[in-house]
Subunit: 233 residues, 2 copies
């Protein structure tokens, strides 16, 4: 019996690595897609390749897209610093990349059409990133509705299913789940401003959330920090 094909959005961070392990555990034939979108933290691209090499049955697909040219985010624009105070912004954080998940899911949808996948996995999480509009259940539901009118799926055949299995999990639940599935988190990079070697700043929101998640789970966090850093939560 042939396996169902799935596309997994793989960023190089711990969330999407966990999602890949979860999709594999379900017996799906997993194809990973990542994006070189002008992010400052380039080392996550290398991390994604390492994770795919370890966990996926197919070569990792990287698609270039110049989201930096539209600006508007601390993750792509040199004019906006990544916040390191640990104090939440009012409203939507400056690390939000406008419409990023919509863009990523759309491109993955096109790739999925070409290779005949009908499952699309994303590591969106409404708990830790509650300020990001495109990390909420309503967004995923709407994207699924769109996928089923936007593609060749309308001609009949299997419907698209968009899955965000981490949506309501805490970071602690996520690392506990991945740990049980054998994910080697030393391969992942979470820091929004990791250096070229993937060494973390220990102060941005992504570093703090990760560290707290491992602490709460009672698990060892293999994050490599920059020399002389005292990581914060």
């Amino acid at each position: 019996m042939s396996q169902s094909r799935a596309i997994i959005l793989l960023s190089g961070g711990l969330d999407s690595a966990t999602v890949l392990a979860m999709a594999k555990a379900r017996g799906l034939d997993c194809h990973t897609v990542g994006f070189d979108y002008g992010q400052k933290h380039r080392s996550e691209l290398k991390a994604a390749r390492r994770i795919a090499d370890a966990l996926s049955d197919h070569p990792h697909k990287v698609i270039r897209i110049d989201l930096g040219s539209i600006g508007g985010s601390a993750l792509t624009s040199d004019d906006i610093d990544v916040p390191i105070t640990g104090v939440a912004d009012d409203g939507i954080p400056v690390t939000y990349v406008p419409a990023r998940n919509t863009v990523f899911l759309s491109i993955a949808l096109g790739y999925g059409e070409v290779i005949g996948a009908r499952h699309l996995f994303i590591g969106a999480n409404a708990v830790d990133y509650s300020g990001y509009p495109d990390c909420r259940p309503a967004f995923i539901e709407q994207f699924e509705s769109l996928a089923n009118v936007a593609t060749a799926a309308v001609d009949g055949g299997e419907r698209w299913v968009i899955e965000a299995p981490l949506m309501t999990m805490s970071k602690s639940d996520i690392v506990t789940t991945g740990n049980a599935l054998g994910v080697d988190y030393s391969m992942t990079v979470s820091c929004y401003q990791a250096d070229e070697e993937g060494a973390a700043c220990g102060a941005c929101d992504a570093c703090r959330l990760r560290r707290k998640g491992f602490l709460d789970a009672g698990l060892y966090d293999p994050t490599k920090y920059r020399r002389g850093i005292s990581p914060k939560i």
Copy 2:
């Protein structure tokens, strides 16, 4: 009174040039966006710039995205020829680029968030391209629903409106409308395999539809064909 801002997807073809003229006629502050997505017909990129220079109040924005790397379309893949027989395919044409309009609208949505636009115009048309799933009213409606949960618009403020004013118009109606608004169609390139100078093949579906549209409208078509070509409809 400040004008409402609008994003116009501008490909360089006659449909999107007409949409730009229509949006301008409504008094909107029009920002044009185009995509260098690996299309074989590169001359449409130059055409889009010419059209924006003539009709828009702002520089044309070109965003690079490597859709060629996912393949699956005659417009981006060297492995699939652009059809020139004029005979319709069964089902979805090979010139369909998987999820292209979803991807384009998503990126335009992100750009619109950054510049504070809430109107998004696309030249999608259900009459001539009835085989493309992402050129139908249901697709536009679903994308509008998605836009309003995917972005900062959820925090209150004006809702997104996605407009496809050509949706139910014939090609003849489109050129008649654009002509009345003063669009210079000699700047546009429709051919799926136009050469570097924008000269058309006269045989692909896009050439045939354009030629028939001008004939039906009783208007002169300023298309420049390749040397020695006898254009077909």
